[in-house]
Amino acid sequence: MDQPFVDTLRPHLRYLAPEQELRPEDRLRDLGLNSMQAIDLVFDLEDNCGVTLPDDQLTDANFETAGALWSAVENARSDSLTDAR
């Protein structure tokens, strides 16, 4: 998980203490991400991480943990690179 990704997530996680580290296995819902904020997060990720999350990636499973979401972002990134070629 790179810094822009973590920095994008943090404001949406009201139960993540300022000095607390975000770990891949952390469940986003337990850190305060509700369904409405998860939608805000989609847009922030697309703006800050330069990816477009395909509609079929907007699944409950991909928003379960920080690690799962990071994988979805990584996949979207490599897909868009492939598309560009």
Partner: protein, 529 residues
């Protein structure tokens, strides 16, 4: 308008003949029950509750995450005259103990093991949904149906036993009368702990038919419900759908996030009962990339005012969509419903009162005010519920009786009516506010914060024109960064404020109460420094 018979007890909704018993009735957690299956499951639930010793007048708590069993359980409880209460799955800690002591349920059904442990500790009988082996296997994995018949209660036998009584519901064996309570709905108010609004069968059935007359759900509708059934807005979707023969699709909390659009497409939803954040989310998702559109024909709104740009945006993207704005509160379920797309011609209008009810505004002396003047919104009619469970003083103040006899509901909401009687909402003057369209009590949040050992005092600055979101301010040794996560032990997520500040002391006024305006000023000043 409607020529359908009016039902007086809840389970009659299921027992009315339908044109297609094989039509899907309810989908929850991946399992779909058709109408006939739902009816059978409700009988099996009634038998199961009976076997566990529940009788008319007993109370049943079911948590909102109980899965496919939830809806049949509610109807099953009704058959026995058992009073149900759907509790939000995030109620825990002191609040859960309070609810258990207040409600005194004969049985609690909870999906979460932690919740079951807490219920057991409180000395209340508890079961997991899977302990009640009453829903026949069916759904996507249709191949698995072979085993469904075996090992389950014999549906036909149960039907004979539970369904053979008088058809009007006044079963010899203790079925409910229309004047008996059907459910308790726990809600936030001007008290430190939630309190329950009690509805009788006939109050609920009146409200249901009156709403159905305005919204006109159809047998071919798929109603996608993004709200848990612990809220009356969610709960009534089940009953409105049963009345109309529609298919209600219950979405879990996560299913209304980024996956909302996909779930609307998957369910082929035609009706979406929404609160403003759900509508806003849907619009953003729809605008993201133009592709497949769900066949939505109706979006309803309640909970808080819907900013005008959202319905206008939604109508652009979904040309077949109509929007109906409503106003309500649990104490009378629904006050007013506007005509479809009335927001386009009368911005801000919440519509006319339900047929057979009256909505007017009064001054502090309880006298009616003329059109255009702001006062406390007051309701008369069969939709005014029975009152608060075991709260006689609070009930007397909110549900005062004219001449000592005739109940009215003082809503605590302020607004005005126009000459035609349409309602316009102005605001509240007490501790209740809305967060994401859900009712939250500042007193309840403050009490929860004070329960943390390192918080001495707490104040909630409620949202207003200058402050879009509620702000929690605490004193004591607590690090404000740790307060919000710990509040979850005492409050459902939707009640936890987004922001917490710590100060040395809360300013007080001459009456010894927190001077919130002064406190807001101090915080604003500190933010500038």
């Amino acid at each position: 308008m409607s020529t359908r018979p009016h039902f007086t007890v809840l389970h009659e909704l299921l027992d009315a003949p339908v044109t297609d018993p094989a039509a899907p009735a309810v989908t929850c957690a991946g399992l779909t029950l058709d109408r006939a299956e739902l009816v059978r499951a409700s009988h099996r639930c009634a038998a199961e509750l009976r076997a566990r010793g529940l009788r008319r007048g007993d109370r049943l708590i079911v948590t909102s995450d109980s899965g496919p069993l939830l809806v049949p359980l509610l109807f099953g409880a009704s058959r026995l005259g058992v009073v149900f209460s759907v509790l939000h799955e995030q109620v825990r800690g002191d609040v859960l103990r309070h609810v258990l002591a207040d409600c005194e349920p004969a049985l609690a059904i909870a999906a979460s093991p932690a919740t079951r442990d807490a219920v057991r500790e409180a000395g209340v009988a508890v079961a997991a949904p899977e302990d009640l082996d009453v829903v026949a296997e069916r759904g996507p994995a249709a191949g698995a149906t072979d085993q469904a018949g075996t090992g389950h209660v014999d549906a036909s036998g149960v039907e004979d036993e539970a369904g053979a009584g008088p058809a009007d519901g006044s079963a010899v064996d203790g079925g409910p009368l229309p004047v008996d309570p059907v459910c308790l709905i726990y809600t936030s108010g001007t008290t430190a702990m939630p309190k329950a609004v009690v509805s009788t069968h006939q109050q609920m059935m009146f409200a249901l038919h009156a709403i159905a007359e305005r919204l006109a759900y159809r047998a071919d509708d798929v109603v996608y419900c993004p709200l848990p059934l612990s809220f009356d807005y969610g709960l009534y979707q089940v009953f409105l759908s049963a009345l109309a023969g529609s298919h209600v699709w219950l979405g879990s909390a996560t299913e209304s996030g980024p996956a909302l659009l996909a779930n609307l497409l998957r369910s082929r939803a035609t009706v979406l009962p929404a609160v403003p954040p759900v509508s806003a989310a849907l619009l953003r998702l729809l605008r993201r990339r133009g592709r497949e559109r769900p066949p939505l024909r109706l979006l309803t709104n309640t909970g808080a005012a819907l900013p005008a740009d959202i319905p206008s945006g939604l109508r652009e993207v979904l040309p077949g969509l109509r929007v109906q704005l409503m106003f309500g509160l649990t104490e009378c379920k629904r006050l007013t419903i506007a005509e479809p797309d009335e927001d386009l011609v009368r911005p801000g209008s919440c519509g006319l009162p339900l047929t057979g009810t009256e909505v007017f505004v009064v001054n502090e002396a309880g006298e009616r005010l003329p059109a255009g003047e702001v006062g406390e919104i007051t309701v008369r009619g069969p939709n005014v519920m029975a009152g608060y469970w075991r709260r006689p003083e609070l009930t007397a103040s909110r549900f005062p009786r004219r001449e000592g006899l005739f109940p009215e509901l003082r809503t605590g909401d302020y607004g005005w009516t126009d000459e035609a009687g349409r309602l316009y909402f102005a605001g509240r003057r007490d501790v209740i506010y809305k967060q994401d369209g859900f009712r939250v009590s500042a007193i309840e949040v403050e009490a929860a914060a004070r329960r943390l050992p390192d918080v001495s005092t707490a104040a909630v600055l409620t949202p207003d024109g200058s402050r879009p979101e509620a702000v929690l301010v605490v004193t004591g040794t607590a690090d404000p960064g740790t307060v919000l996560p710990r509040l979850r032990e005492h409050l459902e997520d939707y009640k936890v404020p987004r922001v917490c500040h710590a100060v040395d002391a809360l300013p007080v006024n001459a009456n010894g109460k927190t001077a919130k305006a002064v406190l807001a000023g101090q915080l604003a000043e500190a933010a500038r420094d």
